[in-house]
Subunit: 224 residues, 2 copies
Amino acid sequence: MTSPPQTASRTDGAEARQKILLCALKLFAEKGYAKTSVRQIAQAAQVNVSAISYYFTDKAGLYRTVFSWPSLVARPCEYGFTAPELPLEAALQQFYMEFFQPLKMGEAVQDVMKLRYREMLEPTGIWEEEIENEIKPHHAAMTELICRHLDAREADDAIQSLVLACIGMAVHLFMGQNIIRTMTPQLLKDHAALDRMAARYGRYASAMVLDEKIRRTGIQETSA
Amino acid sequence: MTSPPQTASRTDGAEARQKILLCALKLFAEKGYAKTSVRQIAQAAQVNVSAISYYFTDKAGLYRTVFSWPSLVARPCEYGFTAPELPLEAALQQFYMEFFQPLKMGEAVQDVMKLRYREMLEPTGIWEEEIENEIKPHHAAMTELICRHLDAREADDAIQSLVLACIGMAVHLFMGQNIIRTMTPQLLKDHAALDRMAARYGRYASAMVLDEKIRRTGIQETSA
DNA sequence: TTATTGATCAAACGTTTGTTTGATGTATGA
DNA sequence: TCATACATCAAACAAACGTTTGATCAATAA
């Protein structure tokens, strides 16, 4: 009879597991998967090395668990920027606000995002099955928004470039945090600074879309 | 068996060195420093493992050599986009043309760029001493260009955000090659597609700067 | 010729890697 | 009380790592 007993009163186990997860996240995000050894993680978490295999089977299992940490990855009310009643600039500003949200939250959330973006450069394993379900929706949502405001029923190359540019600005800011904080730290200083950043990027993106719109109507008029 | 030339049975030595460099570059760019073993490199280059220590002292030495491969890194006529006589949009388009140039060239050049951008995420060692001398000039050149066209003598936060956005679009396209080629392959298909991309990004960036200019003159008038 | 030099090799080096083992301590349930 | 389940530990494991060794082969210079 080895039915799972209730060990709720026992705090030791879950506590160690949590510590391992937290330290692993930090180290993985900081130095990458390969450069982080299980012994380093164990030492940082102040647990025995074998605790990692004990709780997560192996290093890869620990990474997978960290990578899709539910409480950190789950972002409840996202894609609010696609709301149809929003004017273009407001929608884009909200997009960047949502995108920069993790930067405002704790280190852990940022580290998870860092992990995910790191997978872009080193597409091995989880990338295809996980990011595919995160990047593509993001991309599709932005495409839909821009198509709607350009009165285009399909996304041609120009629109897809536009989508890429809008998203690229955000991704770059996220991935280049370290550099930006070195060169122009005041831009990411605090929540207010990030909000200003989102507002500016929203304006810029809006200007890009409007430029494309003018170009399109112009072409339509001359070709008609 | 064909009759062997004078130096056929005995290879030059420089040849092996070159092969190691080429394969190391490819593997480092593909999988990162830590995940690439010297044995893999040796096998790919079809040389003995010890040849790496023989020619480059150690793995780190090989990496350093690859990282600053003179013939690949040297980019002769750069920063041409800052030429004062260029109008804004043309200047920005030239910026993106220059930025995307490596994408047109051989795989080796792209891999070197990939290596350099990878150092952004994993700032260990060479980063500080090398990238500092590459990113900052790029950034400064773009800042100067935008300041000039905005009639601003100093770069305030808004201008620096603008600079960041313009550069970010380009960096994102470079780093996200794999994803972009998966989702919208036609945007990076060939040289002509890349040129169209640079032209579009130039227009978009120009629209952003002009938007900021309008905003500025508007504020100046109301505040004056 | 012989001596020397540089390139190449298989083999082994000592470490570090991720993982497993078996023992020990400890709280819980009967 | 005893017995079971669980958490933790030091130690050991095989495999892979970067690196070194010493021999071998080919070419050059004396």
